[in-house]
Amino acid sequence: MPSSGSLRDTRKSGTTTPRWITARKIIQYGSLFIFLYLFIFSAHRVVPPDLVNLPMRLDPLLAVTHIISSRVFLPGAAISLAVITLTLIFGRAWCGWVCPLGTILDIFSFKSGRENPVLDATNDQNWRKIKYSLLIAIIISALFANLSLLIFDPLTILYRTLTTSLWPALDQAVIILETGLLNIPVLEEPIAIFDSWIRPILLPIEPSFTPAALLYFLLFASIIILNILASRFWCRYLCPLGGFLGLISKASLFRRQVSQDCKTCALCERVCPTGTIDPERNYTSDPSECTLCLECLDACPRSSIAFIPAMRLADWREYDPNRRQALATLGLTVAGLAVLSVDPRTKNPGPNFIRPPGTRQEDFLSQCIRCAECVRSCPTHALHPALLEGGLIALWSPILIPRLGYCDYSCNQCGQVCPSQAISPLSLDEKRKQIIGKAYIDQDRCIAWADHKDCIVCEEMCPLPQKAITLKPGLWSDPGGESFVVQLPQVDRQSCIGCGICENKCPLVGEAAIRIFRTS
């Protein structure tokens, strides 16, 4: 926490944590708890989908860029106006009081009080520009119907990291411990009981596997490690949502004001987690950077600080976006989009680039906000963030990997939880008719076709009422001349919906002998 022990000792004796800070911490941890709760239960269809995706719909950056990019207004996203209103009244209170990533960064606060050589005043000013550049780039690419840069939104970062690496890793850690301890006979029963407590609610029954899980983990870890350089490094310098709310905060009502009896003791400057209290400006701060954490209020020995209404726009600082920065970012963004579009995979991704059911390949990237809600809610772990399969431009948009999980015939959850309706909210009956891809049999590897042995697993698994995989008898003769019949699977491509359960359950080692390929 920003208020370190040594500071507290120099303060007026006998004080406890003031109730405003207590209130903030309760809300912060409460918000983090709700976020995690919704994360955990989004995989279980316990919480209604409209509640599951509430955090994403609250995020005004996601809402605004989605409208710009898709030219569609979703009524559900109107709730983000609440956050904009909050910001117009209290400034970046979202960052200090609500944002779950902000709370995690507070928990991992490495502030030591030592002077940081890297972070001098010049760097501090320059780095604050980064978040605005990112924000401008996001909005410009949204104008060109692309939302790829929303991978930098703090809520999508947290949700994606939890989904793809932190939670599966926790699961693996539990599995390793459980299987290890299971060898001790007396622990067998307690472990079985423990396991039935945590599964399937907290952790899945079958573990999920994510390609490149380490990548997501390292990105998240680096955000936390950057906290060593400066507290809330991410929020100060990088966060595009913070930049967006910061710009709105220029017009916010409640501002931090420093009165005349300030004795310039600099205590407030030292506790400020975003480093916006400026000694050269009489210890005032920038509302665009202040997260209203109220630590300074607590630290001030003379009660010279007050948060009171002010009816004017805040000063434009040198690190705030200017025309030059906006134009440079515009140029770079357009150039970047153009170069990325040269990649052939953006026009014609590989045959394994299979989208979730109920998506249209052509306008998907203008609607998908990269939040990974669908990935998390998929009960069979079939959906995963794409890496480079569809080019860098489609990074971390969802694809279905049948060998890792199949599209469950009894599930339509991804479309229900998608906050931007990039995946259409289909009814179960509608989803069952969606064509995700088509199955093709590799007759050179299939157990029945190539090795002349009965298998039929793919036919057995096919969920269609009139199976899309049928069997035809094939006649072979063994070396002794004795003839025998083998049931050979074949796909009726007309009715196949490409759910991928056949590929998923194919008993071959490694790549399946029946595989789903993209058809549109």
């Binding site: 606060s109 060898n183 029954i205 057995e460 049931q487």
Partner: protein, 334 residues
């Protein structure tokens, strides 16, 4: 957030590592090289086995009861009750205070019970009630669906509701409990990862639904036991013999085949009501081979048409010759 001192941190780390290393040492010292399960039921010598041995300590006179009961034309609950009663009542199978596992077929989460891909919920519910009436201390119901999640399958099949009403417990099967087990009587399948609780339970009641299957031709009692093992796709080669081998390891005490609604084609998943035949029939027997053999005739097949019945008969797991069975047929309402 209290600060973790370096000392504390190192202490925690070393404790954790120590525990893990300790486990490895302990397991290395263990008598058996592998984490194998040895169970009373399956350490019997290979060869002919006594069909359907009842569990009760005071052996009731076997000759009093028929080998197999078929009930027709009634509600699923009545069909089930009358069948088990005619077989000597649930007390014959469930001793006072026994723990019971009921294994229905809940293979997919796709459809409601009308589609006959999953066991009729009232048949399962009736069995759970009867187990408690007989004095069971705990009745658990479980299956491991291959399509969809267990939760979804349990609820969509309607089984979760009927089991709850009967006071039973729907259990989500845990990966940890599939234990590598030797099958001593096995001819082809000599080892499999079998669900530990099903091996160790006092009473195992097998409640399959009778339906079509392209490889096994029909999925009945023995095929239903596949839900209790982990690596199912591997069993598909030489399926008949391997199912019989698996049956020798699990040997359910009672098999009740739900033929209330039978799935005649496109099994085991189903989904088309046109493939469903309303039979209003339940078959009960302590002999799983006998029950499967009789059920085969409902589909117009002979017991010998099914590979697993042939294999199980050869192994002496039960009687498939219907002429040699005392069969009682009950028509509930005219």
């Amino acid at each position: 957030m209290p600060k973790l001192s370096r000392r504390e941190f190192l202490k925690t780390i070393s404790m954790t590592t120590g525990t893990i290393v300790f486990n490895q040492v302990i397991s290395a010292c263990a008598a058996k090289p592998q984490n194998t399960n040895s169970v009373q039921k399956i350490t019997e010598p290979a060869g002919p086995l006594e069909p359907g041995k009842p569990l009760t300590t005071e052996q009731p006179d076997q000759t009093k009861f028929p080998d197999l009961v078929v009930t027709r034309q009634g509600t699923p609950e009545d069909l089930t009750r009358r069948a088990v009663e005619a077989l000597g009542g649930m007390k014959r199978f469930v001793p006072q205070g026994a723990k019971v596992i009921v294994k229905p077929n809940i293979c997919v989460a796709y459809h409601t019970y009308e589609y006959a891909a999953t066991t009729n919920p009232w048949v399962v519910g009736a069995l759970v009630k009867m187990c408690y009436e007989a004095g069971a201390s705990k009745v658990q119901v479980m299956d491991y669906p291959f399509g969809g999640t267990p939760q979804e399958a349990y609820s969509r099949s309607g089984i979760a509701e009927q089991v709850a009403l009967a006071g039973g417990e729907m259990v989500t099967m845990s990966r940890l409990k599939f234990i590598s087990t030797d099958i001593n009587a096995g001819q082809d399948l000599r080892e499999a990862r079998i669900y530990k609780d099903a091996l160790n339970t006092d009473v195992l009641i097998n409640v399959p639904i009778a339906k079509h299957h392209s490889l096994a031709r029909l999925t009945l009692g023995m095929k239903n036991l596949m839900g209790l093992i982990r690596d199912r796709s591997a069993i598909h080669q030489n399926l008949g013999q391997r199912l019989a081998d698996l049956t020798s390891a699990l040997r359910p005490d009672l098999t009740v085949i739900d033929a209330v609604r039978m799935l005649m084609a496109n099994g085991p998943t189903g989904g088309d009501l046109g493939d469903v035949k309303d039979m209003k029939t339940v078959i009960a027997s302590a002999d799983i081979v006998a029950a499967d053999s009789y059920a085969a005739t409902l589909f117009g097949l002979q017991p010998d048409d099914l590979g697993y019945i042939r294999a199980a008969t050869t192994m002496g797991l039960g009687v498939s010759d219907l002429k040699n069975l005392r069969i009682e047929e009950i028509v509930i309402d005219a």
